[in-house]
């Protein structure tokens, strides 16, 4: 620090705690609601302290779901979300790492054309081609399937660029040495490139897992069968505008459960998370 000013340090602490309070409060309140009786929430007598039902709403949510508007049990929705998040994260990493490997370590016809073909998709989020993409998925008979939920989201320019960038830093001597030892391209990929990419893959996995888990528009389009609901989209189906019909106690427990896996990943893998976040934006 340039100069020592106790007062300014104190203010800094105060402002940071205020920021944390803003960030935590909505989640705290949701947690509080998830431990109360439905009547206490609806009457507005809930207050700011946890209620007397530490687990009941969670058990009901996980195994039954909401009752007034019948929903899929949350455990099943979480299963769908987990499949979706894992397939998207692993699939994206797998197809990007091999395509980046091809672009960097080989010369073949139309190499740059293919590279640019992938690169341009950075500019085409699902949101700008909603219905045509939906129609293709439907024509291929992939509505209400895990394949339909995941494969269209698996192409990733970001991950390909990231791996390409990283592969360009692998020294030529390493490739030379491998070739002298008689290693072919696949052996080099397996024994050298993959181990070297471990940190990059892990950082990317953290970001892509969150991305996959949090998808909303895509599940909304390609799943009409409630048993295929993901948790993030499923919550939305539990809430009705005429609020007397919304089982808020279950909705709040479900909301907590929907946040749990991605937030846990951030806390458990802080360093990788920050690395992944910074690198995917380059």
């Amino acid at each position: 620090m340039v100069e020592n000013r106790p007062l300014s340090t104190l203010i800094a602490h105060a402002i940071l705690w205020m920021g944390i309070a803003i960030v935590v409060f909505p989640v705290y309140l949701t947690f509080v609601a998830s431990t109360h009786e439905p009547a206490e929430i609806v009457n507005g007598t809930m207050g700011f302290l946890p209620g007397g039902l530490p687990l009941q709403n969670y058990v009901d949510a996980l195994f039954t779901g909401t009752k007034q508007i019948k929903s899929t049990p949350v455990l099943q929705m979480m299963g769908n979300s987990l499949v979706m998040a894992l397939v998207i994260a692993i699939g994206k990493i797998a197809i990007s790492i091999i395509s980046a490997y091809a672009v960097v370590f080989f010369r073949f016809p139309f190499r740059m054309f293919f590279f640019w073909t992938i690169f341009v998709t950075l500019m085409l989020p699902v949101e700008v081609r909603i219905y045509p993409t939906y129609k293709i998925v439907s024509d291929l008979g992939m509505l209400n399937t895990y394949a339909g939920l995941t494969i269209p989201l698996i192409a990733s320019a970001t991950a390909t660029l990231l791996f390409r960038q990283f592969f360009l830093t692998i020294p030529d001597e390493l490739v030379e040495a491998a070739k002298i030892d008689g290693a072919g391209p696949m052996k080099f990929f397996r024994d050298v490139v993959l181990p070297l990419s471990r940190t990059n893959m892990a950082a990317l996995f953290v970001i892509l897992f969150i991305y996959g888990w949090n998808q909303y528009l895509w599940p909304l389009l390609v799943t009409t069968d409630a048993s295929m609901d993901t948790i993030v989209y499923g919550i939305r189906r539990m809430i009705v505008t005429s609020d007397a019909q919304t089982d808020w106690h279950i909705v709040m427990a479900t909301t907590m459960l929907a946040m749990l896996p991605p937030v846990f990943v951030v806390f458990a893998m802080q360093k990788l998370f920050v690395k992944g976040l910074v690198e995917t934006e380059k």
Partner: protein
């Protein structure tokens, strides 16, 4: 460009094939379809289609509800950018002071990134739900007739709060990284020359942080354009009376159940143009950052 490479043509083509296949089928083909559809009008039963050149676009630019969605998107992005960038910058500047527990603060501020936009929407909807929300009651006690289900401004405030809340952590992390990359010697030099903390911030730190701020501005605009779909759909459904209907939400609404596919496609094409523009701006910035 690498000097040492492997020989072969079939293998690399095989390796790149899955990525190209997915990209062609789910990116290029639908994008072309969107462009093609934007020149067509379908009758209500979907039996006949007619090629109409730019009629869908002309119709769109005569439609007041399209201008409404543009205005909503503009207000929404501006409010989110100001609110979340401002607060994130304040927090990052405080966390950058070498105070005790800076690492803990960082961790406690960064996790909302992992919360889905739709879920963030539900958190805020619950607090401000007119009949049972805890904060809605506080507002009512203060004499404000709070009702985001009926009042368009209230609904907008609600989606802005939810969207900003989620975006603070992202902006905070990038601002903090930006601040930490500023050489401490520059700040010390300014201090020796007699500049106080405030003056140092505005004349030394802030100008050096401006590339980060500009980058974040673009990211925040893209975020409001596309990622807030979940917030809008979960909290307001674009209502009341289209007061929170963003451009992306309108694309979704208009093409719903095969409604106005041509008009929806025309809007998609316009959005594509906007994304391409924003991406181009961002790349220009990144080029500049490399020179820094």
């Amino acid at each position: 460009m690498r000097k040492v490479i492997f020989k072969g043509t079939a293998l690399p083509l095989l390796l790149i094939a899955p990525q190209i296949a997915v990209t062609m089928i789910f990116f290029y083909w639908p994008a072309l379809q969107a462009v093609w559809q934007s020149f067509l009008i379908q009758d209500a039963f979907g039996t006949t289609t007619q090629f109409v050149w730019f009629e869908n676009y002309q119709y769109l630019f005569k439609d007041p509800s399209y201008y409404n969605s543009m205005a909503v998107t503009a207000v929404f992005s501006t409010a989110v950018a100001v609110l979340s960038l401002g607060l994130a910058l304040l927090l990052a500047v405080m966390a950058d002071k070498q105070i005790k527990g800076a690492g803990t603060y960082k961790v406690l501020l960064m996790w909302p990134y992992a919360v889905a936009p739709a879920v963030a929407g539900v958190l805020w909807l619950f607090m401000f739900q007119p009949s049972l929300g805890v904060l809605a009651q506080v507002l009512r006690n203060l004499g404000l007739d709070w009702n985001p289900l009926l009042d368009g401004t209230h609904a907008m405030v609600l989606v802005v709060l939810a969207a900003s809340w989620k975006q603070i952590s992202y902006n905070f992390l990038f601002f903090l990284a930006g601040l930490q990359s500023i050489p401490k010697s520059l700040i010390e030099a300014a201090a020796i020359d007699g500049a106080g903390p405030r003056r140092r911030f505005w004349t030394v730190v802030f100008p050096l942080l401006s590339p980060t701020a500009f980058f974040l501005l673009v990211v925040n605009i893209v975020y409001v354009f596309f990622d807030t779909f979940g917030i809008v759909d979960a909290v307001t459904h674009g209502g009341p009376a289209k007061a929170t209907e963003t451009m992306v939400y309108k694309v979704f609404q208009d093409g719903r159940l095969g409604g106005d596919l041509g008009g929806s496609a025309a809007q998609s094409v316009i959005l594509m143009a906007i994304v391409i523009g924003l991406t181009a701006i961002q790349f220009k910035y990144i080029e500049r950052r490399v020179h820094y």
